[in-house]
Symmetry: C2
Subunit: 196 residues, 2 copies
């Protein structure tokens, strides 16, 4: 049983290597090099362990870390959807659910169920853990775009209100981080790197 | 105090972006593209949450995840040392300790102490958590080299005994994973991708 589990787990470990090839639109800090999903997921996990104290509600930190580590794995099959893409809905698509079942389905049954459930919990965004995980997912590209003189906001002509509406999700996880983020957004308008 | 902490933490979050530029010698799975330290750290964190059940001793999974997420951050200043490099000692160098103090020192005092302690615990490799974290750190490049017809073993002419001696650390964390790994090493010799 243990050996059987291990074989399945190794297959999964090999498969998820493909996350390193999924390019995001957002660039690294002070850079013109696109970030990939594995780098992004590592950064969110680091942010989670560093910023957990700012969560408004008590959170199971390990669960949040698991969420951010796996949240983009479905993109191995479904591809990255740019958050400001107006032609495609970003939220929990049928395509992503099929991907979750295929990829997490490589794991032993109980573990596959656990990972699919954690991914769905993240997508739904209702629990304290999911809210904090989503705060991290919104906060990182905000910091990156500010460091890159507007980054994807300038590149894809994204207006203030759209940015504000998406970033407001940070508030659901942490008032302190939202206060900081809101300030950054306003400063970006003043600097002219975000159009109001 | 909360705002002050957050400002320090954001500076740290920006600084560690540089981990994405630190190239390892090992290549991605079935690939000729070098892996970077952020991708490697993400993969080890995934392996930790997937393989934790195979630890011989009880472990605090969150602590192991923190270890593998941060274990290479010192390389931002100290650079990556190839594990089979005969001219440089890989273990806890003076240079790495200075790097740890500078980079983790960007965090609020208590958090900086916690991260330096976790990094030192990993380097020492004595606790159950450090042993399992090191198992993960040895296991990933083994899987990668096997997938790449010998990878760095062939590229840098590393003989069986050196590989075996380094990989044996896997046994300190997990007998089950070591049994699998030892088998892979022996198969690699039979295939001719590792010279005995």
């Amino acid at each position: 049983m243990q050996v059987e589990n291990l074989l399945k787990q190794v297959n999964f470990i090999k498969e998820i290597d493909k996350l390193k090839y999924i390019q995001r639109k957002t660039k690294l800090f002070n850079s013109d090099r696109c970030e990939n999903d594995a780098e992004h997921s590592w950064h969110l996990a680091m942010m989670t362990i560093v910023l957990a104290e700012h969560s408004d509600k008590p959170i199971d930190v390990l669960k949040v870390v698991k969420m951010v580590l796996i949240h983009d794995i479905v993109e191995i099959d479904a591809g990255d959807t740019f958050i400001y893409d107006t032609t495609k809905n970003h939220t929990n698509t049928e395509e992503e659910l099929i991907a979750a079942k295929r990829i997490f389905g490589l794991l032993p049954t109980e573990q596959a169920k656990e990972f699919i459930a954690i991914w769905e919990e993240f997508e739904e965004g209702i629990t304290n853990e999911a809210k904090f995980a989503k705060s991290m997912d919104r906060f990182e590209p905000l910091l990156q775009n500010v460091s890159n003189n507007g980054g994807t906001w300038v590149e894809f002509n994204v207006p203030y209100q759209k940015v504000y509406d998406k970033k407001k999700a940070i508030k659901n996880g942490s008032t302190a981080i939202w206060n900081y983020a809101e300030n950054l957004i306003n400063e970006s308008v003043e600097k002219g790197i975000l159009k109001k």
